[in-house]
Symmetry: C2
Subunit: 332 residues, 2 copies
DNA sequence: AAGATAACCGAAACCGGTTCCGTTACCGGT
DNA sequence: ACCGGTAACGGAACCGGTTTCGGTTATCTT
């Protein structure tokens, strides 16, 4: 029951600490018999090396930290972040790493690194206002990967979809259905990725000869309330809405219904992300490989930490056509 | 920039390691001047003690692990778990602890304890089939707190609401509105807490002189699809549904609408938990203090780890009356 | 049979902290 | 002048691992 140490194992097996350490780490210079003997002892007493002692000695912790700039609460509320996190966690465990939940609102994330508790960080979708975080990470020389494009980051420091392209797929779909009045409810455009989406929206319209109207462009937090609030507050409703987050889309749909209109008969809605809930409610949306995003982020980070070559991957995006879009109704 | 050690600080301040350690930990036996001098050096070189080295020396890691028996994926999908987690994380950080995400499907959670990476665990709503986990934790003498009642646990090892009472509030509400045909969609009744809910449901009916009908009792995973599937598959629908999870309730409502009925005009629905989404969709539900549950669990665990007195708290429950229940329509 | 080579193993130093115990200096009391 | 007490500090051992370096053997050449 009591946890045993390497010295005790050594004593029990009649060998030195060095030898035990060698079999633990599968090092050479050990005869098959002594290895076997040591293994037996380790097994009998169910010995497990103290990970932190190893970490101190190796100057490698094998754990990575999670930074969640936009207020950590979101992680738990927003299914999108949850799923990215799921991907990160999966990949990390697979590679024998641990995940430290640096649950920190202030600057303490620096702390866990400086205190040698983590080898690096993944930055969960930071906003532009979080540039100082990146600066700090660079300053203390901490390896990190962001799950969003950020100004000043090279290909090796982030993983993201092509947001411009994704948005253009969405509005082109709407355009093809004959919609001309397309509202966009974006996430905060201070974020580079959202800027790209907005540009994708604008360019897709222009390409079709439609001038983007400023009064159809909105933005807010990527939550239900945003979509709901904006749709409720508009005097006039468009025939289609492109929401840059599924939660926004869901909120918008509820508001539309509340106002006595039908989706998609009166108004078409397309969301973004394809979280699980989107499927539940039959939402047409742009799917991004959320889980994969997390996995790749983790993989890149680990490679970075271990000084390996890191390759830049591409994340594909696709339109999932469900039940919230429909050809525009002819007005007359 | 380069991280400095305690020995180097000692050298720079012209004192011994011992002295530096003393000021780090606010120990006595130090003159104000030397303390000041050491602090200056630490500050100038922004020294932070290596947490793991401290952990090795102290045999205390100041981090706690999270075990999520029901398949870790759920945490990220189910908003309820997410929020409990939020509470746990908040409390833990406040107390200077760290959260290790032992993201483990198999038996490896034992591992992190045996490898001295965590001081204890919080068990996130385990099921009855996870009794072996509890057994194992007991076997290795690991401190833990469960966020659900489990058979064989004393008051000091779990924190939960009074599920019996909570369920009875829900069905009494429905009863008061004149409903007599009340369907219950429970979470798996292999879980003790769900057993209690079922009993609460049954007793509340009996108290009103209504014999519970077996054909109105259902159960399944606490997810959208469960509510949706069950409601879709029933030939005849009741006038009210008590869903033991908000996600189930949401699914049920979607199915009801799909079948051309109205909520609450035709059918009343009450959910359970009061997750954020419930508010978004105007769901009438039983609110349990989710965040607080997590916080208390963390607090209890830390007290346990530190050998302090642990007090048992009570979690209050309340009906949040929104827009999915209504007096039953008179049949004739 | 001598010398070289390789296989196997251990002593001791190290990682970055904490702590026990002993030493020194200074104080007031008699 | 001597004694006892206390405040301030350091040496060295310790926590539980890893690693360097070197020393034995045994085996292989020639």
């Amino acid at each position: 029951m009591k946890r045993i140490t390497i010295s005790e194992v050594a004593k029990l097996a009649n060998v030195s600490k060095t030898t035990v350490s060698r079999v633990i780490n599968n090092k050479p210079d050990i005869s098959p018999e002594t290895r076997k003997k040591v293994l037996e002892v380790m097994d009998e007493y169910s010995f497990k090396p103290n990970a932190y002692a190893t970490a101190v000695s190796n100057r490698k912790t094998k754990t990575i930290g999670l930074i969640t700039p936009q207020g950590t609460g979101n992680i738990y509320t927003n299914p999108f972040y949850s799923r990215v996190l799921h991907g990160i966690a999966t990949e990390i465990t697979e590679q024998g790493y641990y995940l430290m939940f640096s649950y920190i609102e202030n600057d303490d994330y620096i702390d866990v690194f400086e205190r040698h508790m983590v080898d690096g960080f993944v930055l969960l979708s930071p906003g532009v206002e979080d540039k100082k975080i990146v600066d700090k990470l660079k300053a203390i020389n901490a390896p990190f990967i962001s799950t969003t494009v950020l100004p000043g980051l090279d290909d090796h420091s982030y993983i993201d979809i092509d947001n411009y392209h994704a948005a253009s797929i969405a509005v082109k779909h709407l355009l093809a259905l004959g919609h001309k009045n397309i509202m966009i409810i974006n996430s905060f455009s201070t974020l580079l990725s959202n800027k790209h989406r907005l540009k994708g929206y604008r360019d897709a319209l222009k390409e079709k000869g439609i001038a983007p109207k400023e009064e159809l462009i909105f933005e807010g937090e990527p939550i239900f309330e945003t979509g709901f609030g904006i749709v409720m507050s508009q005097p006039e409703l468009p025939t289609a809405i492109f929401a840059c987050s599924d939660m926004i889309a869901l909120g918008a749909i509820e508001a539309i219904k509340k106002r006595g209109k039908q989706v998609p008969t009166d108004i078409s809605v397309v969301g973004f992300d394809d979280i699980h809930l989107a499927g539940n409610f039959g939402l047409t949306t742009i799917r991004q490989p959320i889980l994969e995003k997390g996995k790749i982020a983790a993989k890149m980070l680990i490679n970075k930490i271990e000084g390996k070559e890191i390759e830049v991957s591409k994340l594909e995006v696709q339109l999932i056509d469900r039940r919230t879009t429909k050809a525009v109704r002819e007005e007359h």
